[in-house]
């Protein structure tokens, strides 16, 4: 099976702001060559580490965000290193860069003029222009500016008071949003290039990606001038084994009816009626919500998370356990769907399960299970393959 980006040469000059985008391109089949300074990308120093011992081949962050790439070291401060980089760029289909202000970022205009088929995707915190273009950011700061923090955390009490500050969702979501937005734009640019042979520059602002990603919050304000507060994740009920459950009272069918039926079957006494919830406003009201939530809590407590999950779904309720990521590794559903792939990262004593297929298809694979590269592992190979074929047709 060929992959959609088979043969596409991507040269990556990225820190944490762009590595996720490069990883997605590798999973789509591109030959992603990650250029690192001789002592390694700074992301090799991001934890957690294997056995909690730092080392350039021991960063679990680096392992995940650089799966499937190759590594080439260059001294970009030296004339030789810079010449080599420019030669690689002339041989590339795509440059993916997240180092605004660095020498490499300044090469974009010249490179695009030299090679009109080149696509150069520049990922920066705020974009190439504007009053904040020179500002510093981080994952936390992006989630502050993007709007995620002000609607996340613990909702207010009945008097509208908060007992905790806004809390940023974890981990690294600003770079997931920026990276996925970058890849969306890259795929569009590739479409254009496939039809007419022209590449282009892509200016990707992580801030704009984040600002786009608060689901109903912006549309609520744009339509009604209303700012919604922190929203609950319907996660108050606790199963017998201590697991929190998501227990939505929403969706098609009549969830209230089904909950009451289940309560009856479970022998739970209550004084709710399905009729009182015929008016949707009752469910949205505090007392109406509180009454059904109390019954749901008692219902959820009658079984383990697994039992409640199975029973609820069998009854057509939109309920699920709140799990930690690793608690899905043994789940037969995710195994069936190749959600995880076996990979042996550098220096790991064995293979681990990491994220696998993003889709299932008989004709279009998602490549997973390929480890992140050791520092400079592919210096010789890339030089041989990319620079000896400078006269080849663009992909």
């Amino acid at each position: 099976m060929t992959a959609p980006l088979d043969g596409l040469r991507v040269l990556e000059f990225c820190d944490q702001r762009g590595e996720f985008a490069g990883k997605l391109l590798a999973a789509l089949g591109a030959d992603v060559v990650k250029v690192e300074l001789p002592h390694g990308s700074p992301t090799r120093a991001i934890g957690p580490f294997l056995d909690d011992l730092p080392g350039p081949e021991r960063s679990l962050f680096f392992w995940h965000y650089n799966e499937g790439k190759r590594s080439l070291t260059l001294d970009l401060d030296s004339a030789n290193g810079r010449d080599y980089a420019l030669a690689l760029i002339r041989s590339a289909d795509v440059v993916l860069e997240s180092l605004p202000g660095h020498w490499i970022a300044d090469q974009a205009p010249g490179a695009l003029t030299t090679t009109p088929t080149l696509i150069w995707c520049a990922i920066s915190d705020f974009g190439k222009d504007g009053p904040w273009a020179g500002y510093q950011a981080s994952d936390l700061l992006h989630l502050a500016l993007g709007g995620q923090m002000m609607v996340s955390g613990y909702p207010a009490d009945d008097e509208g008071r908060f007992d905790a500050p806004p809390i940023a969702p974890q981990m690294w979501h600003a770079y997931h949003m920026g990276g996925l937005a970058a890849v969306m734009n890259l795929m569009a640019a590739l479409s254009y290039r496939d039809t007419c042979g022209l590449g282009q520059f892509i200016d990707l602002s992580i801030h704009e990606a984040c600002a786009n990603q608060t689901e109903i919050h912006l549309s609520y304000f744009l339509a009604a001038g209303v700012c919604l507060d922190r929203q609950s994740q319907f996660a108050k009920s606790v199963a017998r084994d201590g697991t929190h459950m998501v227990t939505m009272v929403a969706g098609f069918g009549d969830p209230v009816h089904r909950i009451l039926e289940w309560a009856e079957d479970a022998g739970l006494t209550h004084d709710l009626t399905a009729e009182e919830y015929d008016d949707p406003a009752h469910l949205r009201s505090r007392p109406g919500r509180a009454r059904i939530d109390e019954l749901i809590s008692r219902l959820v407590a009658t079984g383990t998370a697994g039992e409640i999950f199975a029973e609820a779904q069998a009854r057509g309720l939109t309920w699920a356990p709140i799990r930690l990521p690793h608690e899905n590794l043994q789940d037969a559903h995710f195994q069936f769907r190749h959600t995880f792939a076996h990979v042996q990262p550098p220096e790991a004593p064995g293979a681990y399960w990491n994220s696998g297929a993003a889709w299932l298809s008989d004709t279009m694979p998602w490549l997973s299970g390929r480890p992140s590269p050791r520092l400079g592992e592919h210096n010789a190979a890339v030089g041989r393959e990319w620079l000896d074929s400078a006269l080849r047709e663009p992909n």
């Binding site: 959609p4 950011a137 981080s138 690294w172 920026g178 569009a188 009604a224 930690l324």
Partner: protein, 430 residues
Amino acid sequence: MTAKVESSGADVASRPLPLQGIRVLDFLWLGAGAWGSRYLASFGAEVIRIEWHEKHDFLRFNRPYLYPGDDRPVDDASPNRGGHFNNINPGKLGISLNIHHPKGKALFRRLLATADVVTENFTATTMERWGLGYNALRAVRPDIIYCQQSGFGHTGPYRDYRSMGPVAAGISGITAMSGLPERPPAGFGFSYLDVMAPWLLAVAVMAALRQRRRTGQGQHLDLSQVGAAFQFLGPALLDFQANGRAYRRTGNASPHIPAAPHGVYRCHGREDWIAIACFDEAQWQALVREMGNPVWASSADFASLEQRLAKNGELDRQLSSWTALHQKYALMRRLQAAGVPAAACQTAADRVERDEQLAARGFFVPLPHSEIGEYRVESIPGRLERTPASAGGRLGRGAPCYAEDNEYVYRELLGLSAKEIEDLKRTEAA
């Protein structure tokens, strides 16, 4: 400097767009999913939403409602004023079509013969039950690209399970990773996967189009909203297996890139906050200077990053008492100018009305709408220099009113006569 791009119909029609010439028959509805085809439309694809009034996209009717800016009459029962619907669906065309009616199904097949892509986010067996599964589709159009996105995917033990945003975030692990360690999970205050999974869907469709260009083959893609989440969860998965450590919530701390201070601090106002992060000594020293070199900051307790981390609580308390005197934006500008990473915590109102960067970049775009007049949407993240995306699609227009494009699709694309269209309407086929 990348220029602001206008989205009016006349202007867009003359511009090259990356997906021009691609036709998508779109059954993506509600929240999760529908964003995906919005991006395809903004890159220039002709996205035709297929709807039927017997099972309306309920977002058409959900609050908040958009009101016209002028004094035109407003119909409270209109299916065209839902704020979220109009936010998620700009740039798409809309037709009414009853695919359960034999004539409706026949029309669908005629359209299908001219289409490149079919997208849907129904529950797993729906399209098959309607006789519109992949094999049925490719019998009409052999190289069709059929992209489905359901909650748990089209196969597997949970195939028929119900999912919405909080379920997907809850079971995958996204929710459990956010909040305070000693309290229950807090998660995102919205359905993060409802927009992220559709971004992945847009990538999948464009990848499939490329795959088809190169192999000549149609494609069948089975996506899961829950499955998408794991692309974001690698380090937590690996930490458990490599180090035997279950993920533990850390609030706003930054354990993996050490930083202190690192968190949010109250500013002047009822619920005004600023995020501040100092990753090195230069940033910390700049912060200390901005605070006016207070005595507490020069204490040996805060001299190094390690020491500041050890005295985290005290550091945050001291910093808070200073930030509380300042307005969040003024403080952000001042600290950034001094070289300190700082960012106001913005609400939706802040992003629309006070975010100078989004304003300078033309992020909020007005689009025309047949019933409402004009309304604003956020634009697509990313500036393609040669072929900029259009928030209103090829038409430079907001979301479609119900059946708005019947005339175009049935008369112009399929060549039906006015009488034939009237018959279809009368017999509830379209």
